[in-house]
Every structure is written in structure tokens, then in C-alpha cells.
């Protein structure tokens, strides 16, 4: 190892290595002393003490010699280094801890080792310990007894039902049988199958404590959440089930049937939903309900609100089904319990699509990640967590997703045209070179700000100006150049006159700006714009008239 004969490096390395781990700081002191001594030695001798090959270096491997800078400072201390009060416990220490804990529980546990009896078994000494019990129906009558039993058995086999009943009545009943009958007559907890997510009886499984605010209890109780301990693997839907189970089990009022009508424990997704909640139980309405199939442990918080959906008006929803290249259909559905197949049939019927054998349609959820993933047609709409779908022929794809995306984007752009957006364009001046300006466009105004370019004389610099959107009359492209650039014109009213600014930029940006401004103008339709459009039309009309007149004159000739 070439490095190891570099004394400077070694000293620096040892010093720094001890910075983090030497609590006594003794080692550092020793090294520092040593170094100080070294330096004095070097000064005194003016010849390197450590040089072995007379190169004047303290290393025989020049290339590895570290620069002064690297040797001087001590290493950076990172937070993830193990030192000080927060030092991570070593594996050994952790294991020792665990063993200690095990030992503690063990100490509470009595351990009994198998030991052979001290001496060989002798009937005379220990026989009394293993006395046989005489069975109640004495041994002599055993067989007739069994025979009787068997007879009874045979009777019940061959006899009529009512006789069987009689037999049963005669027979002793066990406590379990009684409890079963009693439990059945009570009506069991419909959410029974969710009881297994109860962390209180999970015995060592990871659990999560959740506070569930119940929105359907009387207002004075709403501030007090129900605390449930769910196993960590429980999904949101199962937490809802567990909450309902515990609520029913605790006999709370109002009971859930009055809250949400008849509940089918196998499908109550549409009856209850779990929402994020604030500490005071207020529902966080900024977020949609928790997705029923998400494990709750995924969420970092523990406060939820259970909302019972009104049972009287079934939740209706607006479902959109896109048919690739052929637009879309919107349906109002009365409840989220319709199956996807029903929805699909509805579209097919409405569209009068012909279904040839072997040509099946299916539905896909909207969204790029869902392409090529047909939904389960027998599943309910409520389980989709989605209200927009694509009707796709089996073994075929949506195809036009991209173009649809573009259209969507266009739509979005036109809706967003009121939002401020700025562009860097060159302003065209009649007499001098173009200048760079920033064109800021929003629903209210259009700003032109100069961008300080090098070499632009201050004199010629465009002053920042702002035009109210109401003064803007028009915006159009006047010229597209062969070099891919385009000139567009912004017409505005200044006093009584229409004035123009010309800008030059690349064609796509020019188109975007023109579209944006025109969108704004269209939406605003200010008096200035009206006036301008009117005069334009008048001019066009006049022009046409004059052309007509000219041509008629020509004809007349």
C-alpha cells in the first residue's frame, strides 16, 4: 500500500479517525504533540526526517502525496456517522438486549426439566398413584349400556323426525349448544367477518391504533372518536368493516341499520366511506375518501372520519364513456352499484353498435396507466374509483389516445388562457433593429417589458408598457417566414386610433400567443373589440362593394 508510507497522510488520518470516536481526546492530543514536535524537528534540521530517498518529500510515492489543503482540515462530521449521544447501538448490543428481555420473560416462566424417576418403578411403592377408576356404569354392565346406546342410535336413525325430536329433548344439552341457539336468535353482528382485523386479539401481529370520528352520532358525541386497533395489514374497507363491527358489538346507538338503511356486510362500500380528518374530527374535504382497497398503514396519520352516506337518496354519478374516434357518451346513474356490464350495454344500445359474434367489447378506465387493462365487467361501478371509461373492442386498443390527449390539452389551454403566461419575443421596430422583450399575457392585461440585452443602446430601449385587455382589439399573424419564424401583430386602441405592435418569434410560439390572446378577446368581447370587428367587417364590405362596383363598371364597359 503505497499510501501507508506517507507520514503526513498517516498522521492526518489517525488524527481525524479519532475525532469521532475518542471520548478521552487523548489520542488526538498525542498526535498533535507529535506533529508539533515534527514540525520543530523539520525546522531545526531543515532536512526531512522521514525522507528515505532524498527526494525532500515525506513520502516515497509522490503521486499519492496529498495536497496541503487535504491534510490540514479534519474530516467533515456527517449526521449519519455513529457518535455521541445518538450513536447507533451495535448489533451485538441489540442482541444482548433482546436476550436480556427474553430472559426476563423467561424468569417469570417456570422451566421444568425432564428428570427420570429417582428409582425404578415398583408397584408396591407407587402403585397407588396410578389406580384405575371404576367407570360409572360398572364394568360388568358396560356392554349392555353400549347396546342400549346403540339401540337408541338405531332408533333415531330409523325413527320419524318427531321421535328424533323427542330423543333430543330427552338428551342432555351442552352449554355450547345453548349458546349457539341463543346467539342465533340474537341476530349476529353482520360485520362479523371483519372481527379478525381486530388488533386487540391479534397476539403479536403488528397493529395500528386509529381514531375514527363518527359523523352519524349525535353532535355532542361527535368530538369523541372511536378508537380501534386494527391489524396493520387491514385495508381501508376492512377498517370500515372493523369499525362497524366494533360499533355494533359495543351496542352503540343509533345502530347502523338506522343510520344507513339495510346493510349488506359483503357490500357496504357505498354505505360508508372513510375520510381523512383533522385532530378535532373535522373532515378534511380537500381530499377524496380513502380508496377502499388501500391498506391504512400506508397513511401516515391515524385520524379518520367515518361518513355514512345518506341512505334515502342513492348516490348518483355522472359516468363518461369514451368511444375511440367517435366521441363520448355521458350517463347519469342512480347508484354506484350498477355493474360495468350494464353500463357497457347501455352505451352499445345507445350507439346502436352491432355486436358480431367473436367481437366483444370491454371497458377500460381512463388514464394512460390503464390502457390495455380491461375492467372486470361484473364488478360494480363503486369499486372502480373512476367515472370515466373507454369502450374498447377486445384485442384492440384505444388507438387515438394521443390525439385525444392533444384535444384535451387544447381545451385546457383555452380555459387557461386567462392565466398569466410570459413569452420572450422580439419586438419589430420600423426604423431600427429588433429588441428582445418579454410579453406577459393574462386575462386582464398585456405587458411589454424590455429584456436588457447587451449592446442595446439605452436610447432605443423599449419602455415597459401595459395595455388593458379591454383596449386590445386584435391579434393576428401577419407573416410567416421561411426560416420558421413568424411575425404577429397586436392591435390596440390608443385614444381614438388603433395602433399596432409587431413581434417576431418562432411560429409555434407565435401561434400560441395569437390563440391565447384571441381566446381572451373572445371571452371578454370588450367594446373595443366589438368596434374593431365591426369596422373590419365594414371595411371588408366596402372593399367588396368597391370591387363589385369596379367589376360592374368593367362589365358595363
Amino acid at each position: 500500500m503505497a499510501m501507508m508510507d506517507n507520514v503526513d497522510f498517516l498522521i492526518s488520518h489517525i488524527r481525524n479517525a479519532f475525532v469521532t470516536s475518542d471520548d478521552t481526546s487523548m489520542s488526538e492530543w498525542v498526535i498533535t504533540e507529535c506533529k508539533v514536535q515534527d514540525e520543530t524537528d523539520i525546522k531545526r534540521d531543515n532536512c526531512p526526517r522521514y525522507s528515505r530517498n532524498n527526494l525532500g518529500s515525506r513520502s516515497d510515492s509522490m503521486s499519492d502525496c496529498l495536497s496541503d489543503n487535504e491534510l490540514k482540515g479534519s474530516m467533515d462530521i456527517h449526521p449519519d456517522m455513529d457518535f455521541g449521544a445518538h450513536r447507533r447501538r451495535s448489533n451485538t448490543a441489540q442482541r444482548l438486549d433482546r436476550l436480556k428481555k427474553e430472559k426476563r420473560t423467561q424468569s417469570k416462566m417456570k422451566t421444568i426439566q425432564w428428570k427420570d424417576a429417582p428409582e425404578a418403578y415398583k408397584v408396591d411403592e407407587k402403585g397407588h398413584l396410578f389406580e384405575k377408576r371404576i367407570l360409572p356404569p360398572s364394568n360388568g354392565t358396560d356392554i349392555p349400556n353400549v347396546a342400549e346406546n346403540i339401540e337408541q342410535m338405531n332408533n333415531s336413525v330409523t325413527s320419524e323426525n318427531n321421535e328424533n325430536e323427542k330423543n333430543k329433548k330427552k338428551r342432555a344439552v351442552s352449554i355450547l349448544s345453548q349458546q349457539l341457539v341463543e346467539h342465533d336468535s340474537h341476530g349476529s353482528n353482520p360485520f362479523f367477518k371483519y372481527a379478525k382485523f381486530d388488533g386487540r386479539t391479534a397476539g403479536g401481529l403488528p397493529t395500528k391504533k386509529l381514531d375514527i370520528f363518527l359523523t352519524f352520532v349525535p353532535p355532542d358525541q361527535q368530538a369523541y372518536p372511536m378508537t380501534i386497533l386494527a391489524t396493520a395489514n387491514a385495508k381501508a374497507q376492512e377498517v370500515v368493516g372493523l369499525t362497524c363491527w366494533q360499533y355494533t358489538e359495543e351496542g352503540r346507538k343509533p345502530d347502523l341499520q338506522t343510520v344507513a338503511g339495510h346493510i349488506d356486510p359483503n357490500d357496504f362500500v357505498n354505505k360508508f366511506s372513510l375520510h381523512m380528518a383533522e385532530d378535532d374530527g373535522e373532515i378534511d374535504t380537500d381530499f377524496p375518501p380513502i380508496v377502499p382497497t388501500d391498506p391504512v398503514s400506508k397513511y401516515g396519520f391515524t385520524k379518520f372520519a367515518l361518513v355514512a352516506n345518506a341512505p334515502v337518496q342513492p348516490k348518483s354519478a355522472l359516468v363518461t364513456i369514451n368511444i375511440p374516434n367517435r366521441g363520448f357518451n355521458k350517463f347519469q346513474v342512480d347508484s354506484l352499484t350498477v355493474t360495468m356490464r350494464e353500463l357497457m350495454d347501455k352505451v352499445i344500445k345507445k350507439r346502436k353498435m352491432k355486436i358480431r359474434p367473436g367481437l366483444n367489447y370491454t371497458l377500460e378506465k381512463a388514464g394512460k396507466s390503464e390502457i390495455g387493462k380491461p375492467v372486470d365487467l361484473d364488478a360494480m361501478l363503486s369499486s372502480m374509483n373512476c367515472l370515466e371509461f373507454y369502450l374498447v373492442r377486445e384485442n384492440s386498443s384505444r388507438g387515438d389516445v394521443e390525439s385525444n390527449g392533444e384535444e384535451d390539452q387544447k381545451m385546457a389551454e383555452s380555459l387557461m388562457s386567462h392565466q398569466y403566461k410570459s413569452f420572450i419575443v422580439s419586438m419589430v421596430h420600423k426604423l431600427r433593429t429588433n429588441t428582445e422583450v418579454q410579453l406577459g399575457i393574462s386575462g386582464d392585461k398585456i405587458e411589454i417589458d424590455p429584456v436588457s440585452g447587451k449592446g442595446t443602446a439605452k436610447l432605443f430601449r423599449q419602455k415597459p408598457v401595459t395595455y388593458d385587455a379591454d383596449c386590445v382589439a386584435a391579434c393576428d399573424i401577419t407573416e410567416t417566414k421561411s426560416n420558421g419564424r413568424a411575425v404577429f401583430r397586436l392591435t390596440y386602441l390608443n385614444g381614438a386610433d388603433y395602433k399596432q405592435h409587431y413581434f417576431e418569434t418562432d411560429q409555434t410560439m407565435a401561434t400560441e400567443i395569437v390563440e391565447k390572446v384571441n381566446n381572451i378577446l373572445e371571452l371578454k368581447f370588450s367594446p373595443v373589440r366589438k368596434e374593431f370587428v365591426f369596422t373590419q367587417e365594414k371595411k371588408a364590405l366596402q372593399k367588396r362593394d368597391s370591387i363589385k362596383r369596379e367589376s360592374s363598371l368593367k362589365l358595363g364597359l
Binding site: S177, L180, A195
Partner: protein
């Protein structure tokens, strides 16, 4: 019998997920789970005073308190090699018997100060099952080689019989009146004997009664009902069959699509219901008469291979 204010009905199941679950038998709700670290549970039994439950595992038998929420075992019996495959108690709680893969059946004195009852019975093959005769004085040990050893505890006299060579005895049951004995093996066959008290001081005399094919596959357990009229056999074919002891006709077949190996079973006190434990992680309560599932005990994460059940009969 004293039960310390505990529930008169106790149901516990365990298996390969290292957990013992306690159930409310009538509702199907698990009300407690305790961990059984380091080992699966091969067999469970409840002490006659219903205070403790014994879990037989690999190299140890652990006793847990039934009526508290203590998650740890109270007593750990060790010093056994290999798996302990069966466990049970003398009716007065004087001693505990176990059988294991170390080729022995053992009797443990439960009064830890004295080792008076400590006994050991050596056989030549791994012990699969140990059954105590209702007279509390004879142990029947079934082993892997196909032998049933009849061990008279008081006289220490033992006899053995081999109903079918090369077929491991998997379970032995004696009816509560001590008049019938059943044994099942890994070939699906069930053997029946009538029992009479021996005139000499040895184990009961056995008179072969019947042999029949109860299942097409491995049988894991046989058990007489408390009223001695029924015999249940559980099998690797995913069913539990209930036979009438009178004529050995099939009374009911307990079958479910999702059920896999059925390892263990227990009758209710009035023989009207039976609880089974299966590899599909579930235990089930069936009505004996119609073979319908009345309750499912769902919660284990791995196969349930043993259960312990106590019921009481009211007049």
C-alpha cells in the same frame, strides 16, 4: 368442576403459525391470541381445572394461563428431544402424559416438588399418539411402525398389537365408557375393538370387532363422541366422516370446497356439534346431524393442526 370463573366453554386452536388462538366457540370471534415462539404447536390440551392449556411443540411443552391475558407461557417443560406429538392429563390433574418422536411416552408429575409420578415408556419408533383410557390407568401408545402399545400404568405390564404391518398408527380413541377402542392408520383404514376389563391386573382385553376403509387417504385422527354413539375420522382427503358406532354406517360427511387436510376434531358435550381443524387455516363448527357449517374460526395464517375444546353438559 371448578373453572375459576372462566368461560365454561373453551376453544383453542393452534398450528404452524406459532400462535394459539382462543375463540368464543358460539360466535366465532377470536378473543385472544398468544404467541408460541420458536415452534409450531403439534397438540393442545386443557387441564381438568380449566386453568391452563398445554401446547406441545418441538422439544418442549408450554403451559399458558387460560383466564388471564398473560401473553407468555407460565410453565415450560423441556428436556425432551424432537417433537412432542401428543399431550393430555389425568382427570384429577395429578400428572400429564406426552408422547414424542423421541420414541417415548412420558408421564410428568405436575407437582413439581416431587417426582413421584415420573415415568417413561420406551418404544421402537416415533410415537404418533398417546391416549388415556377413561379409567385413568392405561395408556395406549400408537407409533410410526404400526404398533399399539397398551401400557397398564399401575402394574407396568404392557402388551402390544399390530393391526396392519407397515402402516403407521396415527390416532387411537377409546369411548368414554371404556368399551370400544378405535385406531386409524396412514392407509385410510380404521380398526375397532371391544374392550373388557382384564381379569388379571394387566391392560384391558381387546377383541377385534371390525376393520374398514374409512377414507381413501391418510387418516389423521379418530375420536368417539361423548355419548359413544359416534366415531369421527379426519383425513388428508379434506373431509371428516362421522360413523355410527352401532353399525359403522356413515352418518355424515363434513366436507367443504376450501377445506384441506383435517387434522383434529372435538365433539360438543352433547355430541350434536363437532369442531374440526384444517390446513386451510380455518377451524369449523359443524352440525353433526346435517353436516352444515355453523361457524368458521378464521384468523390463523397457516395450517391449524390441533385444537383443544371443553364443553359442559347441563341437565
Amino acid at each position: 368442576m371448578a373453572n375459576g370463573g372462566g368461560d365454561p366453554v373453551i376453544l383453542a386452536t393452534a398450528g404452524y403459525d406459532h400462535r394459539i388462538r382462543f375463540w368464543q366457540a358460539h360466535s366465532g370471534i377470536c378473543h385472544r391470541t398468544v404467541q408460541h415462539p420458536d415452534s409450531q404447536v403439534n397438540a393442545l390440551d386443557i387441564t381438568p381445572d380449566k386453568q391452563l392449556i398445554a401446547a406441545a411443540g418441538y422439544q418442549h411443552i408450554r403451559m399458558y394461563d387460560i383466564n388471564s391475558s398473560n401473553p407468555n407461557a407460565l410453565i415450560n417443560y423441556e428436556g425432551v428431544q424432537k417433537n412432542v406429538t401428543s399431550v393430555g392429563f389425568h382427570e384429577d390433574g395429578k400428572w400429564m402424559y406426552t408422547g414424542g418422536e423421541d420414541h417415548t411416552a412420558k408421564i410428568w408429575d405436575l407437582r413439581s416438588r416431587t417426582l413421584q409420578c415420573q415415568r417413561i415408556f420406551q418404544v421402537k419408533a416415533p410415537v404418533n399418539c398417546v391416549t388415556l383410557h377413561p379409567n385413568q390407568g392405561e395408556l395406549y401408545v400408537g407409533d410410526q411402525s404400526g404398533s399399539i402399545h397398551c401400557w397398564d400404568l399401575k402394574t407396568d405390564i404392557n402388551e402390544h398389537l399390530i393391526p396392519e404391518p407397515e402402516a403407521a398408527i396415527t390416532s387411537v380413541s377409546i369411548d368414554p365408557m371404556g368399551t370400544l377402542m378405535a385406531a386409524v392408520n396412514n392407509k385410510g383404514n380404521c380398526y375397532l375393538w371391544t374392550m373388557t376389563t382384564s381379569r388379571s391386573n394387566g391392560p384391558s382385553n381387546l377383541h377385534p370387532k371390525k376393520k374398514f376403509q374409512a377414507h381413501s387417504k391418510y387418516i389423521l385422527k379418530c375420536l368417539f363422541s361423548p355419548d359413544s354413539t359416534l366415531l369421527a375420522t379426519t383425513s388428508a382427503d379434506g373431509t371428516c366422516r362421522i360413523w355410527r358406532t352401532a353399525d359403522l354406517s356413515l352418518c355424515t360427511e363434513l366436507k367443504d370446497k376450501s377445506q384441506r387436510w383435517v387434522w383434529d376434531c372435538a365433539f360438543s358435550g352433547d355430541s350434536q356439534y363437532i369442531i374440526t381443524a384444517s390446513s386451510d387455516n380455518n377451524a369449523r363448527l359443524w352440525s353433526v346431524n346435517d353436516g352444515q357449517i355453523k361457524r368458521e374460526y378464521n384468523g390463523h395464517e397457516k395450517a391449524v393442526v390441533c385444537l383443544a375444546f371443553r364443553d359442559e353438559v347441563v341437565a
